[in-house]
């Protein structure tokens, strides 16, 4: 079944067509989300959210872009929104803790209270860790470029930004990553 036929069938709520589409793109969505969030548990939920959106909002899909571009965009957006919420939650928790600490007048802070502490299953790869330290927009551009092998015009279409903005994001991402990796390898080998 061609992509256009597949989309038409899903618009008519054809479950078989939806399963076919998921088989084609769920690994890709999972890979992108995992690389952005570094959180395996959340990735499973976010992939589900991506395809819930596809199933429910297929009528909103304008065929001026390919399905893969749309699914990439949904995946990146879900992952970045998740990170925003996580950051907000962490900062709120931190505010709560500061208030609690003031009330208790306790100077002791345990490791369990460290901000941004990852409580879930995470990717331990060096590059993943380095990526988690750079800004989310640079991370997304780098992941789509080097992880997915997409061209700058394709990334621009996914992220809804200009090609020169993609180039700039990728340039800055590589600079930031090389500094972080240099520091890491330098510690490791010296």
């Amino acid at each position: 079944m061609e992509e256009r036929e597949l989309i038409d069938a899903i618009r008519k709520k054809d479950e078989k067509a939806f399963r076919t589409l998921m088989q084609q793109y769920d690994t890709m969505a999972g890979r992108v989300i995992l690389r952005i969030t570094s959180d395996k548990d959340e990735t499973r939920d976010l992939v589900q959210e991506v395809f819930i959106t596809v199933w429910e909002k297929i009528d909103n899909f304008r065929e001026d872009a390919s399905v893969s571009t749309w699914i990439y965009r949904l995946s990146v957006n879900k992952a970045l929104n998740h990170l925003r919420w996580k950051k907000l939650r962490n900062s709120l928790r931190l505010t709560d803790r500061k208030t609690e600490e003031k009330l208790k007048s306790s100077p002791i802070r345990t490791n369990n209270d460290a901000p941004g502490k990852m409580e879930r299953e995470e990717d331990e790869n060096v590059l993943s860790k380095a990526l988690s330290l750079i800004p989310a927009n640079q991370r997304a551009a780098f992941i789509l470029s080097k992880g997915e092998g997409l061209s700058n015009p394709e990334i621009a279409a996914i992220l809804h930004i200009s090609i020169s903005a993609v180039e700039s994001l990728n340039f800055r991402a590589k600079q930031s990553l090389s500094k972080i990796l240099f520091s890491y390898y330098n510690d490791k080998f010296n």
Binding site: M22, K174, L177, S178
Partner: protein
């Protein structure tokens, strides 16, 4: 082979590696500097291995993900249908109850200025400075 612990070319090497595609990375192996600098060589080998692992990043997704989503949609649709039916029943019951109450309960007496004044123990005739603002609070 250089025995130095640091090499000023390592950051540049990393930048180059981060920009390179698989083919370019492979051809970098023949770089004369890499052959003579132990630090850059180690960094190169480590980066290639780490990048390879990162590129294989993947996740096992539940096999029944599509079924879950389709099932959720059907549930949502059925839920909406039953909510509409429930809503209509509640609205009809509310209208019937309203009509019943309005016919059975005694009519509320009309509130006069005099009645308000009595309620608040104030009489118009006795007090010309009735605290109008009181009701605006």
């Amino acid at each position: 082979m250089s025995t130095a612990n640091n090499c000023q070319q390592t950051p540049k090497l990393l930048e180059k590696l981060l920009s390179a595609d698989a083919e370019q990375r492979l051809s970098m192996q023949d770089d004369p500097h890499l052959k003579q600098c132990a630090v850059c060589n180690k960094t190169f080998q480590a980066f290639v291995a780490d990048f390879g692992t990162w590129q294989k990043t993947g996740i096992e997704l539940p096999a029944d993900l599509a079924e879950k989503i389709i099932g959720r949609q059907v549930e949502h649709h059925n839920g909406n249908k039953s909510n509409i039916v429930k809503g209509m029943a509640v609205a009809a019951a509310a209208v019937v109850a309203g009509l019943f109450i309005s016919h059975t309960l005694p009519q509320r007496p009309e509130i006069s200025e005099q009645a308000i004044a009595i309620d608040y123990d104030l009489l118009f005739s006795a007090d010309d400075t009735f605290p109008v603002e009181f009701f605006n609070e």
